[in-house]
């Protein structure tokens, strides 16, 4: 194992033992081999940059790099966007540690030396983010290499295997060339993904979110801070922003649209599917910190005359986020709320049982104009998971769910 900080500035010699220059950077070509160091950039005297390929490396150690070709055969370096440069693109940069779902800064990069008969390969193993690497970077060049090693070993080392490293590249064209994808981020929980996004700079965020599918992007955007939501949605094309907002739960979407510039907000609504836009528009009519402003319009409401069987059928055709449904609401012909059946009651009842008999008594609901504090108090007092919201005539408008209440309580603190 060898650290980049130990081979940086290493002297390089050609096959005849002539001095070539010193090592400034290593390059990996992900299109050839994602782990092997393909290029060795050598700074020759008089500022010229040479480029040794991996076949031209005879041996490599903490003392020197030995090429197996004479100086004449070594070509000058031509900048190539398709190569990951260790010093330029990795060292000291922020990367995403996919395994621990964190954004970290790279202190050093670790390689394996793989000697074979004719030449030696370096294989990238891990990036180093711990104190040991920091101390090594601090001392390298000031003391002998083995002394530096000994001192830095006193400190805790922390490495992230290269396979869990996700580089952040804001330029989409270069990202394609380097084969950087954010597939693994899409598999994270949206809340973890949002934590990662919050650590990135604006352009980097944009590049990560842009590469995600609409649904994943929508979940992640729902979880980031309102200020970042605005900054992000205003920076991408309106049709793509509309696609993302469309996938968000209507109450979250309404919150975001309220934060946006009215012009941008109108533009997004115009670009959204009519049905979703209508739902969001209805919610925008309510003031922010009221029951109406907190509620979502995705819920299950059934005629009070129905049976458990009809409720289960409604579950099967429900298009919203099914895991957040805690109760079904009973309404009459005028949409007036007449009952609430908790999920547990449905599960325990016979399929043919009439819903009316399963309703809680009394039916607890709230008027859409009541403020957030009243909502919180009701949740607390009655140990609710969801609370139906009604208008002046008792018609069901939506429901406030426990997660929204929790957010209200936490952000207020």
């Amino acid at each position: 194992m060898i650290h980049f900080s130990e081979i940086e500035r290493l002297d390089a010699y050609d096959a005849k033992g002539e001095y070539l220059g010193w090592l400034v950077d290593l390059g990996i070509d992900p299109n050839q081999n994602p782990l092997r160091v393909a290029l060795y950039l050598i700074r020759a005297p008089k500022k010229k940059l040479l480029c040794l390929t991996h076949e031209q490396i005879q041996s490599i150690s903490v003392r020197a790099i030995q090429a197996n070709v004479p100086a004449q055969e070594i070509r000058p370096f031509a900048p190539d966007e398709g190569v990951i440069r260790i010093k330029k693109d990795v060292l000291d940069q922020q990367i995403i540690d996919v395994n621990n779902q964190k954004v970290v800064r790279v202190n050093d990069v670790d390689f394996d030396i793989q000697p074979s008969e004719r030449h030696t390969h370096l294989r990238i193993v891990a990036v180093n983010v711990g104190w040991a690497a920091a101390v090594r970077r601090m001392l390298q060049g000031l003391a002998a290499k083995h002394t530096v090693r000994r001192i830095s070993n006193i400190f805790p080392s922390k490495t992230i295997p290269w396979e869990f490293v996700n580089l952040i590249e804001p330029d989409p064209a270069r990202r394609v060339k380097l084969r950087i994808t954010y597939h693994r981020l899409a598999e994270l929980h949206p809340a973890d993904l949002a934590d990662i996004l919050e650590e990135l700079s604006r352009d980097e965020q944009k590049s990560v979110i842009e590469s995600l599918d609409n649904e994943t992007a929508a979940h992640a955007v729902s979880e980031i801070s309102p200020r970042m939501q605005v900054a992000f949605l205003e920076s991408i094309p309106a049709d793509r922003a509309a696609d993302i907002v469309e996938e968000m739960p209507p109450d979250e979407a309404a919150d975001v649209l309220q934060e946006l510039h009215p012009k941008t907000s109108a533009e997004l609504l115009a670009n959204m599917e009519e049905e979703e836009a209508e739902e969001v528009r209805d919610l925008l009519g309510f003031e922010e910190n009221t029951a109406g402003g907190l509620m979502t319009t995705e819920f299950i409401a059934l005629e009070a005359s129905g049976t458990v069987g009809s409720a289960i059928a409604a579950f099967k055709t429900f298009e919203g986020p099914i895991e957040s449904v805690h109760a079904v609401y009973l309404i009459n012909g005028e949409s007036v709320l007449t009952g609430v059946v908790p999920l547990a009651h449905l599960v325990l009842a016979e399929t043919s049982a009439p819903l009316k008999e399963l309703s809680t008594d009394p039916v607890i609901s709230i008027h859409s104009h009541k403020d957030g504090k009243t909502v919180v108090n009701l949740f607390h007092k009655y140990n609710l998971l969801a609370l139906p919201v009604v208008d002046d005539d008792g018609r069901l408008l939506g429901e406030v769910t426990a997660d929204d209440v929790l957010e209200l309580v936490v952000t207020r603190k």
């Binding site: 000291d92 922020q94 800064r105 790279v106 202190n107 700079s201 604006r202 200020r227 605005v230």
Partner: protein
């Protein structure tokens, strides 16, 4: 005015309000205990004659601050981040280490200023300093970003106390304005030393880091850069407007009275009382307390931020304590040590620490300025926001002057035997 122009103005103004904050807060925190003291001395010893320096200082401040704000908007990254990414680990580590020392000294002088301001109201420093420290600590650790920013902005408004006490001192406005617009260089060494002190206190390294991070944290978009620039320019003007009024207040009273020696900023407030009235004195002391509390909060906060940023540790007010242990221990440690030094050490023992911090500041500033100039000229980082040629001429010139003055300050601090009497 035709309606479309009015609408455009109104839109711009609304955007301005939404990006308002970073520039004005940085500018206000800049007028901290050290700043108020330096301005007071300048007024007390030299009357109105140094007022003209505020004009070039404002220009220099605008040039430098505009550059960092632009970098923040263009890259979306903090200055410590950029320095780490472009100049490597060792440079960043040394720079931040010095910044840490410098800002510990600054924090001590904030708490010392708080103690001296509170003593005018008869509050013992053994009560004022621990309570003040607890207040600023709790604000950040328990508060949210939005709340903290609001408290900061309110504290900025309280600087108006200096304006009022300046008026109450009934200065000779004609002479004051004349001196402000017509430069009059005197080649006596104490006069020159004072100018160096004024420049040094107005343009400090930490504020470059702080401003850029604040711009990034605020999420200001490239499209809104124009309005954000106004925030910075107005902030710089406010800094020097406050300086102007402090100098004028002291010039009209202490300088005129002939008793021109003051030991700290609290002294200046006391000296105002017989000459400008008790109310002016009270306002001056209140302004000092406000300034010290604001800076005692922002300085450690900014330091903790940048050290964590540069070293890649988790940071941010929005993080919980266990998520960002390094950040919170640095912030807490700076406040604790700063307050402890003021409570335990006598004033004569605080001086070496404060001098050390001045030297550290002086060492960092040239590096920070040169890094800033080089980074803001990088096409790959800045794109169309890189410095124009004309701007570069002005900026390099400004920085060269500031670096020279700062180094002079360092030399005179290290070798006080060459100091003018």
């Amino acid at each position: 005015m035709n309606p479309t122009r009015f609408q455009r103005f109104r839109n711009n103004f609304l955007i301005f309000l939404s990006v308002l904050g970073p520039g004005i807060i940085t500018a206000s925190a800049n007028n901290d205990a050290g700043g108020i003291y330096t301005y007071s001395v300048a007024g007390a010893q030299f009357g109105y004659s140094l007022l003209w320096t505020l004009v070039p200082i404002t220009v220099a401040l605008v040039v430098v601050q505009e550059m960092v704000a632009r970098m923040g908007v263009a890259t979306g990254k903090g200055l410590a981040d950029l320095i780490r990414e472009e100049y490597g680990f060792r440079t960043t580590f040394l720079l931040l280490g010095l910044l840490l020392i410098a800002n510990l000294g600054n924090t001590i002088s904030e708490f010392a200023g708080l103690a001296s301001g509170m003593s005018i109201f008869g509050v013992s420093r053994y009560i004022a300093v621990p309570l003040g420290a607890l207040f600023v600590w709790a604000l950040v650790v328990k508060g949210t970003y939005r709340m903290v920013e609001k408290v900061f902005l309110i504290a900025c408004v309280f600087y108006v106390a200096y304006l009022i006490s300046g008026f109450l001192a009934r200065p000779d406005w004609k002479t004051a304005v004349n001196n402000a617009v017509s430069p009059s260089l005197r080649f006596d060494s104490s006069y020159l030393y004072m100018i160096i002190g004024l420049v040094g206190t107005t343009i400090a390294p930490w504020q470059q880091f702080y401003l850029q991070s604040a711009v990034v944290e605020k999420g200001i978009k490239r499209d809104n850069y124009r309005q954000s620039r106004w925030d910075v320019i107005i902030g710089c003007m406010i800094t020097d407007l406050i300086a102007f009024f402090v100098i004028v207040a002291c010039a009209a009273t202490i300088y005129v009275s002939g008793q021109r020696q003051i030991a700290d900023a609290g002294d200046a407030a006391l000296a105002l009382a017989p000459l400008a009235g008790q109310f002016a004195s009270t306002l001056f002391a209140f302004g000092l307390i406000n300034a010290c509390l604001l800076s005692a909060c922002i300085l450690p906060l900014a330091t903790a931020y940048h050290v964590c940023e540069g070293l890649g540790l988790e940071s941010g007010i929005s993080k919980r304590v266990h998520e960002a242990p390094g950040f919170y221990s640095l912030y807490t440690g700076l406040i604790f040590l700063g307050a402890l030094a003021v409570v335990l050490l006598s004033e004569s023992k605080q001086i070496p620490i404060i001098l050390l911090s001045q030297v550290a500041n002086g060492f960092i500033l040239p590096f920070v300025l040169i890094f800033m100039l080089r980074l803001s000229n990088r096409g790959d980082l800045m794109g169309e926001y890189r410095n124009s040629r004309l701007f570069n001429v002005i900026a390099w010139g400004t920085c060269a002057v500031m670096i020279t003055l700062t180094l002079l300050l360092v030399i005179t601090t290290l070798f006080p035997q060459y100091l003018p009497k």
